[in-house]
Symmetry: C2
Subunit: 363 residues, 2 copies
């Protein structure tokens, strides 16, 4: 078990918000960028916390024209009362996504279900974070987005034309099982970051996860040129759904996404998001066995699934909930010494005081 | 390539409708039961056509108390304008599902998105059929249901507590690619019917598809006691979603579903359905590259995915569309001689004229 250093959340948020503001983002954008980064760290999502957020912005975002600090969301008029469509004008993804969840919740409160489709977006980083937010507030939520780069080969194909296209669902299950169930994954078998870490460790990939430059299957992480969808045609279908939402909302060709240098001037290179929120009461038939309440019925269903010798099973979101508890008990966000060193580099560049690893509490 | 006999659709529908009416179903229920059976055969869905429909009704339906001929749908009052919740009172699943799609389309026309949650349902047989119906009419549609029996072991577990829990999506893509994209599959790696057919053929199952009575992995179809989710934790999460909708809507314990003999009198044993329809215009940001229309943009996205050497890839729904074209060109529904013999048994029982296999056209 590796050791983690405990960073007070206010210190973390201050550093991330400062970094965003130094790049021209507004205080509100910077605060929401820091919020998602903190929640990712708090829930043990080591691949999508503040270091990744700032790196992503550097690679594809404010430094590359993919994200525009201070941009305003434009709500496009719609004749459909339970639906909104937004032009994000490349505003910081996290700021847009938190607002979209707020709005979709308002729509679900009124109509039982609500949706917000977002065109001209910038990557929102960690879909699960918004789902946890909605689920904690008592709503069923779903989001998908078109991932930044086309790195995944369609089932039966040779060339990567699909994003890792994640789907994320949040379930208001805290009353039933103690935490929000969060189902949150990419539609590729593994992420490109996992390939790189296996290469570093000299390990092989699982079968069916990737192809080499000729489009042939490989388990050698050093030969990986592109990824494969999980579950063959089934994961391929799920990945297509994100591209189909992209096509309907206003995304352009998947192979040009985030590749402004390759794209003709009249093609778009921005990703899209889609958010949907459902009010659980809008689903209730009001007739639960043994006179149970809706949440007691959900608990009974989940208890049955994990009973009968299945006590080793976990529910999706359980690891995130455990990480969160550990973090909250430690009184701050948990980072490795190497991560703290990277944060300190950022602090140095900003002229802020560095964190003193030697004096930080460890867990 | 096996040979198929061509049955005129009217003859098929007449037989199936007669069979349903002989079991007490109303003419309207019988007609919708025949419609879905015909559409399944027409789209090449050999596992869910009329023979399966009548067999399912026999095993779990009108003969077993799981389905009540002539039952009336009760619309439960709701404060949410874009949402309906129905008590199906065990009405024939196909009749309920076609009505739910009609109603969800009306809601999507008004609100951009609409949902219908159905409690006390009877199995609707083939989710993809309703999705094709909605997609042909120009809408994005989604459905899930809790499958009749708990046959699938949760990821990491030993005992089957989940249904094969299918998800089905329909995409209004006929203008873009010539047919509706339909993504439609169970969340188990294979279906139980496939296990039985592999056992008959003396073949092995793929790895990771099933477990034996002790909960250990097996590829021997004769030792299979339960199925595994596709894609490990990812398919497990997708299967859980159906049970979670079940829990919210009014389904009871998964291991008691369709097992009235095992269930205490105060537990429910009925499945649930969930339908959602989205109007594509409600998603459109109205700003497509190169001045494309929304459908042209969808076509450009799909063309890009299948370009770059990926011309061997197929789109989900393509096989169904090919089967449909073949069927329509033949001027009827295509069945094997063995299937025709089974239909003739049903005709004999009903006192109807049998089909004369020798004089039927073949393709």
């Amino acid at each position: 078990m590796s050791e983690f250093l405990v960073i007070p959340r206010a210190d973390h948020d201050n550093l991330i918000a400062n970094a965003y503001q130094a790049r021209g983002f507004t205080p509100e954008e910077a605060a929401l960028g820091a919020k998602l980064a903190a929640e990712a760290a708090r829930h043990g999502i080591r691949t999508h916390h503040g270091l990744k957020a700032l790196h992503l912005d550097h690679l594809f975002g404010s430094a590359a024209g993919g994200c525009v600090p201070g941009a305003e969301i434009e709500v496009i008029p719609s004749r459909f009362a339970a639906s909104e469509r937004w032009n994000a004008n490349k505003k910081l993804g996290q700021a847009v996504a938190y607002q979209a969840i707020d709005r979709a919740i308002e729509l679900a409160e009124e109509f039982g279900i609500g949706q917000v489709a977002v065109d001209n977006a910038f990557h929102y980083l960690w879909g699960g974070g918004y789902m946890i937010e909605a689920a904690q507030r008592g709503y069923y939520a779903y989001t998908n987005c078109t991932a930044a780069l086309a790195e995944v080969v369609p089932f039966g194909g040779k060339f990567p034309t699909l994003g890792t296209n994640p789907h994320s669902w949040g379930i208001p299950s805290t009353d039933a099982v103690g935490f929000p169930i969060v189902i949150d994954w990419a539609t590729s078998t593994v992420a490109m970051g996992r390939v790189q870490s296996l290469a570093r460790e000299g390990k092989s990939l699982p079968e069916g996860a990737a192809v080499d430059a000729d489009g042939n299957p490989t388990t050698d992480p050093n030969k990986v040129s592109a990824l494969l969808p999980f579950g063959a045609h089934k994961g391929y279908g799920l990945s297509l759904i994100n591209e189909i939402f992209g096509g309907f909302i206003g995304g352009s060709l998947p192979t040009l996404r985030s590749r402004k240098d390759k794209a003709p001037a009249d093609e778009k290179t921005t990703p899209v998001f889609y958010f949907q929120v459902i009010h659980p009461e809008a689903l209730s038939g009001g007739n639960f066995a043994k006179g149970r309440s809706q949440k007691d019925n959900l608990r009974a269903v989940l208890d049955d699934i994990l009973d009968h010798g299945n006590d080793n099973c976990i529910l999706p979101g359980q690891f995130e909930a455990q990480a969160r508890r550990k973090s909250d008990e430690a009184g701050g966000l948990l980072f490795t010494a190497a991560e703290v060193a990277e944060f300190n580099e950022i602090a140095r560049e900003l002229g802020l005081q560095e964190w003193d690893a030697a004096s930080l509490p460890a867990v």
